[in-house]
């Protein structure tokens, strides 16, 4: 079984994120995923800013969300972001959303990112050295 690494944050649902049906508009879940991924990145040293410093950007090439239950304005959402190591030069995260204090899963999702050299926008076919070092350091 492959080792994974997770980080969990709480996000507060804004009034302006709920739609006329009173529930959070589905497109905003992509924001919550990014909130979770960036909080993971800050915790473990691989946030957008850390990549920038290495002249690397990591655009999303695939995103997916499965909606199981809805969220309302004022709900406190727990976002769990999990990093999944892979052989390819990619960054794969999965996400689970819960309401605070309730076990039911609200939504699950996944994103895949690739590495581009920032200046030339060239796709990197292998993990950048600093990212390999990071994986080793984390035992991934």
């Amino acid at each position: 079984m492959t080792k994974t690494l997770s980080h969990t944050i709480e996000v507060l649902i804004r009034f302006n994120e709920a739609d006329p049906l009173g529930i959070v508009w589905h497109g905003h879940y992509i924001r919550y995923f990014e909130d979770g991924r960036e909080a993971f990145g800050k915790q473990y040293g691989i946030g957008y800013m850390d990549f920038f410093k290495e002249n690397v950007v990591v655009p999303i090439v695939h995103a997916e969300c499965k909606y199981k239950k809805s969220l309302k304005f004022g709900d406190k959402v727990i976002v769990e972001a999990t990093y999944h190591p892979c052989e390819a030069a990619k960054i794969i995260f999965t996400y689970k959303l819960y309401k605070k204090g309730a076990p039911a899963v609200i939504a699950t999702g996944t994103t895949t990112q690739v590495f581009l050299e920032k200046d030339t926008q060239t796709l990197l076919l292998n993990n950048p050295a600093f990212f390999e070092a990071w994986k080793k350091q984390q035992g991934l």
Copy 2:
């Protein structure tokens, strides 16, 4: 081969939809999908409003996007939304995004919606009668 039904619109990329890398933030593609789906709905009589009138809401239960190329502020995007008939009580659309006047696909995606009775939020296990009538009318 199953018959499908498509509709195409042009969407203008807003300045505030591009991120610090100068490209459209990936989460906004979900908006463009909805723009395409709603324009289809208006054209063919199955927009959000048409469902409301029938006491039905059609929340998204699955959304997916594959990003192949990026979009910049000022780009004119062509959004092609295609309805895919299915046996189950679901609404399935696929999407293709192009830059106006260029053949390369920028992104593809898919969404799945289910039918809920609006007042009770009960999941409908069969297509509502008006939707079956709509399908027949369209030859789908």
Copy 3:
């Protein structure tokens, strides 16, 4: 001098809130104001939800923002929301934004809200009784 009541929160700038110039798009400041106002509302018992329970909604009729410095992705913003009592049936807040740990004001703003009866959408010409009671309780 009229007594005022303030509440302060910290808001984290999202990657997707910065524009191609690398700075936060000016329209998002209206969100930060709302974040501050809602946090004030939770702290002191006059959030959107508290009004709903009383069959009252409080739409914004005026909003204004003065931008003095810019914000970047990753900045931690301090939002100070201050309630200003007034004679009329209105809710007036002012806002000050700072970067965490720095004294310079990033932006200031103000919003004005009125009271509508939720069901009829009728404008209330006097403060609702529960709001008068709240003001008295706070010594305002």
Copy 4:
């Protein structure tokens, strides 16, 4: 009386721009103003892109909106953006929003922009030469 220059566009209200009260969230009006301003800019050659080419950026330093009536999902909004010449090195626009086909004003607003040299972020104390030329060309 000072001469002014106006441009008018139609904007379609998105489902995801309406809030749990069923009306457009007040913060989105800032987007409609920008839509109107950018359409004016395209029409008359002073859009964001035109400024970029001249190594100038034009950040908003003041924005204000007065809300008179509400907008709903599906409404077609007419945005009228009017350029107001001024002596200072500033760009001032006012805005009027209508529902298509109805005379009542939904909202009015104003924005003020200044000129910064793009590379150095230095405030320009006088209008850039190309902007003075533009004003002359327009008879403003």
